[in-house]
């Protein structure tokens, strides 16, 4: 059937039941979303989801649907929404190409453990497997990148599937759940009395914690002479930032967050060593190699963090606390572990500590005086400095200026590349969920649509997308989505004329053979902004930078900043991939 014929077929039988005594599948879906607290979804219609869109029209006062221009944008926007709030983000796409376009977003969410429900249309049940028009095996295609998925072939299952999908997406270690729904199931009328399902077993979640093991963690922590807390996205996911700060204030132990953990601990806190890993600070990486106790919470010993895994924290006893048992020992075998979410674990630690008596704690802090002095020495020896120039805007200076003009309060959403690392290094974060980035999959094109989702989730906050000139061009079509809905999106393009991060690797590891990284032929981003009806502003000289940023941020609508920065700047420090931190290159 052609799309036109499909559309016609869908238009004819539309006497939508007004009583929910015998609703059709599409109504059950939309009511299911509402029941699960959804008021915002992102999507783009097509033949297989027409019935659902028809119901969305009926329920438009309860759910606002944001029409994106590409399904990748829908899923990233849903992710931005989820990451800014901790709530489940929802996207709706059609079968076939709608689903394939959504795949990058689903994989991005999977790698970063972001709770999503993605509803995909499917060809009618009777035509599944016949290579029907716009048929693709969405269930099979997304199997390795979902926390769970469904192909719902019976309208009576829909109700319980939707509830369970939300439960699974958010529980334990969160992740994306795909619900693939054939068109006929959305049209079928459901006899409630025959509704089935609802007793499916779901993933184990770990809300309790073994107090004996927590006791051991505390003994080790109090006895350590050179401890470091290595904390990651698990802190953010579990909303455990306050508990972490509380613990550090009691015990005064140094903390280093991963890229995903930024915001989970205030960057300006005196105990913060800065980010660790490939582009981490000298202090953080040196502290890791010298510590005698590494307490890892809500992290997964990712290769971008550890470099050469065998020599990561070589002198430390490693304690790993994580909600996902499979994370423990996956990359690095810890000496001791606790399965618990970060908040439960931290609260248990704090509670047990309070029984210890002040003398014990004071003695432990006292014993670590040398360690603190050593760390201060490293901080002073290799601070994260930013060079300034009068002729060209240094990328690091751009981030610092952004920090100044936003008072450090903005939610920063990034794309992937050099600008991402500079934003991580030079924008000190104050609060959890202030930093939204694609860490695990490293998806270029993530930033702009994710910022749309974040801004919708946090309308009162200043949300800024910091993107590269490369990644911007992967999803800039969503500018019009922001325009259409009056979302005051602010996009800062760090324009270095290159696929910068790749160029840096070519410079450092491939003898400066700049193979296919030149972006000097790019559209005029200011004119592009104007074509979309947005404000476009350009800054090329350091003297103009702050003024341009202030002007654009004050604009009530969408602003696209084309900030032309020095072309061949490199991100430092860098630990070359697969090496240990002794190989860190500082300049």
């Amino acid at each position: 059937m052609t799309e036109v014929a499909q559309a016609r077929a869908a238009v004819t039988p539309l006497a939508a039941p007004l009583s929910s005594a015998a609703p059709r599948g599409a109504e059950i879906i939309v009511r299911g979303l509402i029941r699960n607290g959804v008021d915002t979804i992102f999507g783009l219609p097509g033949g297989a989801v027409l019935h659902i869109y028809d119901e969305l029209w009926r329920f438009r006062d309860e759910i606002t649907h944001y029409l994106v221009r590409h399904e990748q944008g829908a899923v990233h926007a849903a992710e931005g929404y989820a990451r800014a709030t901790g709530k489940v983000g929802v996207a709706l796409v059609t079968s076939g190409p709608g689903a394939t376009n959504a795949v990058t977003g689903i994989a991005t969410a999977y790698m970063d453990s972001i709770p999503l429900v993605v509803i995909t249309g499917q060809v009618p049940t009777s035509t599944i497997g016949t290579d029907a028009f716009q048929e693709v095996d969405t269930f099979g295609m997304t199997l390795p990148i979902v926390k769970h998925s469904y192909l719902v072939k019976d309208v009576r299952m829909l109700d319980s599937v939707i509830d369970e999908a939300f439960r699974i997406a958010i529980s334990g270690k969160p992740g994306p759940v795909v619900i693939d729904i054939p068109k006929d199931v959305t049209a079928a009328v459901c006899d409630w009395t025959k509704a089935v399902g609802g007793d499916e077993p779901s993933a184990n979640s770990h809300q309790f914690v073994d107090h004996d093991r927590i006791g051991t963690v505390i003994e080790k922590l109090l006895a350590a002479e050179r401890p470091v807390l290595y904390v990651g996205g698990g802190i953010v996911t579990a909303d455990a930032a306050d508990d972490l700060t509380h613990l550090v204030d009691i015990l005064n132990v140094p903390v280093t967050p991963t890229l995903m953990g930024l915001g989970g601990f205030p960057s300006a806190h005196p105990a913060c060593l800065g980010m660790l890993g490939m582009h981490g600070t000298y202090t953080a990486n040196t502290a890791i190699s010298e510590c005698d106790l590494l307490l890892a919470i809500g992290v997964r010993f990712d290769d971008r963090v550890t470099g050469k895994i065998a020599t990561f924290a070589p002198n430390a006893e490693i304690i790993h606390i994580d909600i996902d048992p499979s994370n423990i020992g996956k990359n690095k075998q810890p000496h001791f572990s606790v399965v618990a979410d970060a908040r439960t674990a931290l609260r248990a630690i704090i509670e047990c500590l309070s029984e210890k008596g002040e003398g014990v704690i004071a003695a432990s802090i006292e014993r670590r005086e040398d360690w603190r002095r050593k760390i201060e020495g490293w901080k002073a020896a290799a601070p994260m400095n930013c060079e300034h120039s009068n002729d060209e805007i240094k990328p690091q200076a751009l981030i610092e200026a952004l920090h100044r003009v936003t008072g450090g309060d903005a939610i920063i959403v990034t794309d992937v590349g050099q600008h991402q690392m500079w934003a991580a290094q030079f924008y000190p974060f104050k609060y959890s969920r202030q930093w939204i980035t694609s860490g695990g999959l490293g998806t270029m094109g993530f930033g702009l649509p994710a910022a749309i989702g974040a801004q919708l989730a946090r309308p009162e906050a200043q949300v800024i997308a910091v993107v590269g000139d490369g990644g911007f061009q992967m999803t800039n079509q969503e500018i019009i989505t922001a325009i259409q809905y009056g979302i005051p999106l602010k996009v800062v393009i760090m324009n270095n004329g290159y696929l910068g991060m790749v160029r840096q690797w070519q410079e450092m590891f491939y003898d400066r053979a700049y193979s296919e990284v030149d972006l000097s032929i790019s559209p005029d981003f200011v004119k592009l902004a104007e074509a979309y009806g947005a404000l476009g502003l350009r800054a090329t000289r350091p003297a103009d930078l702050e003024g341009v940023l202030r002007e654009g941020l004050a604009h009530p609508g969408v602003t696209i900043f084309d900030i032309v920065v020095s072309k061949e700047e490199n991100v430092f420090p860098i630990i070359p991939p697969g090496q240990d931190s002794l190989r860190m290159i500082l300049k």
Binding site: F139, G140, L143, P144, K147, H148, S149, L151, I168, K173, E200, P201, S202, A203, N204, D324, P325, S326, I328, G329, K330, Q333
Partner: protein, 178 residues
């Protein structure tokens, strides 16, 4: 502790629903785990199936397999059966060419020794059924090879833990026979 590339049998109790088996098999291939044999069937409650997968790996890999399978929403239980005393069996159907007379007598004595069964017969061929440990099945097929073995279908292993915690076979990691 057993180090190296040891054979292990993993028993996974998973909801008897469409797609759940592909989720498990997909997980094995995505994470580079070996599937040597796999067999699946209903458990006592028809809602639940049990997949028995024979794989290879060191202790850490096996531990990861158990944990990774445990993450799946529809998996109720994952056990490394081989880490405790257990019984393991495989079944084979073997199609051999045998003419009446001495040849058939040879086969029949093998059938007798291995306690196999003849499940089909024609003038030139026989189909034999055997169940036992993997080694026993291997040996039986080996012994038949001088005759003409046309085809073999093996079920893959199924396994269950012993009732008593004491393993009666000498080697801790080897399943005992009968």
């Amino acid at each position: 502790m057993v180090i190296g590339n040891t054979r292990h049998t993993i028993s996974i109790t998973v909801a008897n629903e469409a797609g759940e088996l592909s989720r498990i098999v997909g997980l094995f291939s995505a994470r580079g785990y070996v599937v040597e044999t796999i067999s699946v069937g209903k458990t006592l409650e028809p809602k639940w199936s049990r997949a028995t997968i024979v794989t290879r790996g060191d202790e850490r890999t096996i531990e990861q397999i158990v944990k990774q399978c445990g993450r799946l929403a529809r998996v109720r239980e994952v056990k490394a059966v081989t880490s405790e005393p257990h019984i393991e069996r495989e079944m084979a159907l073997i199609d051999v060419s045998v003419t009446a007379g001495a040849e058939r007598q040879d086969v029949m004595s093998l059938v007798d020794i291995f306690r196999a069964k003849v499940v089909d017969i024609s003038h030139e061929r026989m189909i034999l059924e055997l169940s036992g440990t993997r080694d026993k099945v291997d040996t039986f097929i080996e012994m038949l090879k001088p005759l003409k073995v046309n085809d073999v279908t093996r079920s893959g292993c199924v396994a269950i833990n012993r009732l008593s915690p004491f393993d009666r076979s000498e080697e801790p990691n080897k399943s005992s026979e009968e």
